[in-house]
């Protein structure tokens, strides 16, 4: 018995390769800064629920960045006799892990926030000694939270710009988590300031707001990850509409003089798009098959593996899905 391996995935264009390297560097910096920030938060943390929640969010933001790095390394190893279909889905697994982690912790934090609120637990914020001067620990916590917001703001902006320019969806998720990070820090500051005013519940409410934002992030990513693992319709970077490449591919194929009509079904495999092209022709030669693939590859660097099939029920240029036989 012999095993046929899939051809290696298309090389990324130079610009995208560079972007991916830059994204990896940004993720490495994220690991470095968020570890530092988490250590600082841990040292200055008092009994504030909001601050504890913010610390957990900071620790969490390490997960997408580190899984991105692992996924990127794993993907580069390409096709072999074990991974006969290649490793392009490494980034999809990256999504899933981040999403499950985010959702799980979001749920746990919502529970803790509600519990604190219902049991009316008052946060303990003590004092710290700076030189010979006694300072309310809340000030230190506010300072730590403010500092903790800086790296995610800077790194997040860079990641978002990179993700938008080069359509790197995993990086978009990472940037979203970064946004949740600094929002968390802001809400944490509100909570600590509230404690200082004697509003013990302000802290728990701020923690709940943060937990809600984490849970929202987690649920959105989880939905995206489940979609992608089901080879669902390819989506644009922002996930609010279908990927424009699907339409462009259909248009490009219909322009081939011998094509009677076509329908396209594309799904995402990490950075690439692969799928089926259904032609309304009754026969197909090897040369015609190669012509379709060549036309597809010209449409976008993202298009990788295209299989061609024949069917009688194509709609020329519309997106109506051809039923599976």
């Amino acid at each position: 018995m012999s095993v046929q391996t899939r051809p290696p995935p298309r090389e990324l264009p130079i610009a995208e390769q560079t972007a991916l390297r830059r994204a990896e560097r940004l993720c490495a910096w994220t690991l470095f800064w968020m570890s530092l920030v988490s250590a600082m938060m841990f040292v200055s943390m008092g009994g504030s629920q909001a601050m504890k929640t913010a610390l957990i969010e900071d620790l969490l933001s390490i997960i997408p960045a580190s899984t991105f790095l692992v996924a990127s390394w794993f993907r580069r190893r390409g096709v072999d006799m074990e991974y006969v279909n290649g490793r392009e889905r490494a980034f999809n697994v990256n999504f899933l892990i981040s999403a499950v982690a985010l959702s799980g912790v979001g749920l746990a934090l919502v529970y803790e926030g509600v519990h604190t609120l219902l049991s009316a637990t008052r946060p303990v914020v003590g004092t710290v000694l700076i030189g010979d001067f006694v300072v309310w620990q809340g000030w230190l916590m506010i300072a730590a939270l403010a500092v903790s917001a800086v790296p995610p703001i800077i790194l997040g902006r860079k990641k978002l710009a990179l993700a938008k320019a080069l359509s790197l969806k995993p990086l978009q998720t990472d940037a979203d988590v970064g946004r949740a990070d600094w929002l968390t820090a802001l809400a944490g500051i509100v909570g600590v300031v509230g404690i200082g005013f004697g509003f013990w519940w302000a802290d728990a409410i701020a923690a709940l707001v943060i937990a809600g934002s984490i849970l929202h992030d987690g649920a959105t990513n989880l939905r995206g990850a489940v979609r992608d693992l089901h080879d669902a319709k390819a989506q644009a970077l922002t996930r609010d509409r279908a990927h424009s490449v699907t339409d462009q591919l259909c248009q490009a194929i219909i322009r081939l003089p011998w094509v009677h009509g076509c329908t396209v079904r594309l799904h995402e495999e990490g950075l690439h798009l692969s799928g089926m092209v259904y032609l309304g022709n009754s026969t197909l030669t090897v040369e015609q098959l190669e012509a379709v693939r060549a036309a597809a590859q010209k449409v976008s660097w993202r298009i990788d593996q295209i299989d061609v099939s024949l069917t009688q029920t194509v709609a020329c240029t519309n997106q109506r899905r051809t039923p599976r036989s």
Partner: protein
């Protein structure tokens, strides 16, 4: 949501910046109650630092620190003698302003109430130096700062 957070933060900072309010404040006015009605101090026997005589009178190095603190701020002191556990429960609900004596390291109360800075005491001339700390109610920020400032400035607490 973001806009709401920013607005609330701005209002809070304006209130702070104009200095129209003492900050940080207590959740249940421990500082004000101490000034108006005297401070209620939970006393749990812990000789030689906290000694409770059969007639109910209290003495010991910890009580002396409390008396000096009260004198410095013109507070009257009301001693509430009892078991450690019920006293701590009252403290957690801010019905006492302090609990002295009977605190053990690693007890479940460590994270549930606030702790003062530890002051060095030598209960008798032969006894070794011990670091003594007092339990304060959670969420009583101004009260906690007031106590710690006194302990650091006048009792060499660290």
């Amino acid at each position: 949501m973001f806009a709401t957070i920013l607005r609330r933060l701005a209002i809070t900072l304006i209130l702070l910046g104009t200095g129209c309010t003492p900050y940080p404040r207590d959740t249940t006015d421990s500082s004000e109650d101490a000034a108006r009605f005297g401070m209620a101090v939970g006393v749990s026997a812990d000789p030689p630092y906290v000694v409770v005589a059969p007639d109910g009178s209290v003495s010991g190095s910890d009580t002396e620190i409390v008396v000096r603190f009260a004198k410095a701020h013109d507070f009257r002191v009301r001693w509430v003698v009892g078991g450690h556990e019920p006293l701590m429960e009252q403290l957690e609900n801010a019905r006492l302003q302090l609990v002295i004596g009977g605190h053990a390291d690693g007890s479940p109360w460590e994270s549930r109430v606030g702790w003062s800075k530890a002051a060095p005491v030598r209960p008798t001339s032969q006894a070794p130096l011990a670091m003594r700390r007092f339990a304060v109610p959670p969420g009583e920020n101004a009260w906690h700062v007031l106590l710690d400032r006194y302990l650091v400035a006048h009792e060499s607490a660290r």
